[in-house]
């Protein structure tokens, strides 16, 4: 591989790596959001059950 080819390859690898890191960060964030949605979804039936109990006692 010539010097020019090495530099061109390095430039394109850098572009690929930076875009990949960016996509990985977005993927991690989406995973976190999915986890939080699951937590909220689990919390909602519990809250509804509490409210029903309060009404029946009152």
């Amino acid at each position: 591989m010539t010097t020019a080819e090495t530099y061109v390859t390095a430039a394109y690898c850098a572009i690929f790596a930076i875009v990949l890191v960016y996509v990985a960060i977005i993927a991690l964030k989406l995973q976190r959001l999915e986890r939080e949605v699951d937590e909220l979804a689990a919390r909602k039936p519990a809250q509804e059950a509490d409210e029903r109990e309060t009404v029946s006692v009152g």
């Binding site: 010097t3 394109y12 850098a14 930076i18």
Partner: protein, 238 residues
């Protein structure tokens, strides 16, 4: 309909394209661009094989300018029309611009090391002006995260984004007004500095980078909107 309104209408219609379709189009275009860059485009007469860096370097630089411009336009819409989505859209566009700015600086430095023997030359106005533009918008995030969420933060960020847009034509023209012309110029007043397959390769690469940038913009925007909705939902449950 005026050409300006027609263009805005086109941008508006882009919002209806689904994310998988955008991602597929990006993949096809980027693959085609890489194939053209490495297997079809001929070597440049003066710069040789290293000129192949420029297809993506120039396209990414143009996309970075466009992202900063979009960020400023959305900031203007926030201040002028009080568009409720404009603040978030401006923030995401500037974020995209900064990421593409990093790519411009990295690819430019690699080419400079090969051609000039230096990673960076402080004597080159066009390099320094792009760095100033990049740092200006990088500082936008310091401002955004140092103010509490709310209308005040949105207004401050919008004004800041609008100030930065002045630097875009300065940075763009610096390459053309520089006296030493060390930095190669792809487009002059008389048109492109190359033709044939080189020009085709450049346009395909530009389309690929723009499509990739728009796809990433939409993905990030969707994530940020979901985050905001989730925060409101969590607050209502608390």
């Amino acid at each position: 309909m005026t050409p300006g309104r027609a263009q805005l209408g086109t941008v508006g219609r882009l919002h209806h394209i689904s994310l998988p379709a955008l991602a597929a189009a990006s993949l096809v275009l980027v693959t085609a661009a890489l194939a053209l860059v490495f297997f079809v485009a001929p070597n440049d007469q003066f710069l040789g094989f290293s000129q192949r860096i420029f297809y993506f370097h120039v396209s990414i630089a143009f996309t970075a300018y466009l992202s900063f411009g979009l960020g400023a336009w959305k900031a203007l819409l926030h201040l002028w029309k009080r568009d409720p989505n404009a603040d978030l859209e401006s923030y995401v566009a500037i974020h995209q611009g900064v990421i593409f700015g990093v790519l411009v600086l990295v690819t430019g430095s690699i080419w400079a090391k090969y051609s000039w023997g230096h990673w960076w030359l402080w004597s080159e106005n066009q390099l320094v002006l792009f760095l100033v533009l990049f740092l200006f918008y990088a500082a936008y995030f310091m401002l955004r995260f140092s103010v509490d969420d709310g209308p005040q933060r949105a207004n401050l960020c919008a004004v800041y984004a609008l100030f930065g847009v002045v630097l875009i034509p300065v940075s763009f023209l610096a390459i053309r007004l520089a006296q030493n012309f060390i930095h190669p110029i792809v487009f002059t007043r008389h048109g492109a500095n190359f033709g044939g397959w080189m020009l085709v390769t450049y346009f395909v690469t530009q389309a690929a980078v723009l499509m990739l940038a728009y796809t990433l913009y939409r993905v990030e925007l969707a994530g940020k909107r979901l985050d905001a909705r989730l925060r409101r939902l969590r607050e209502s449950y608390a």
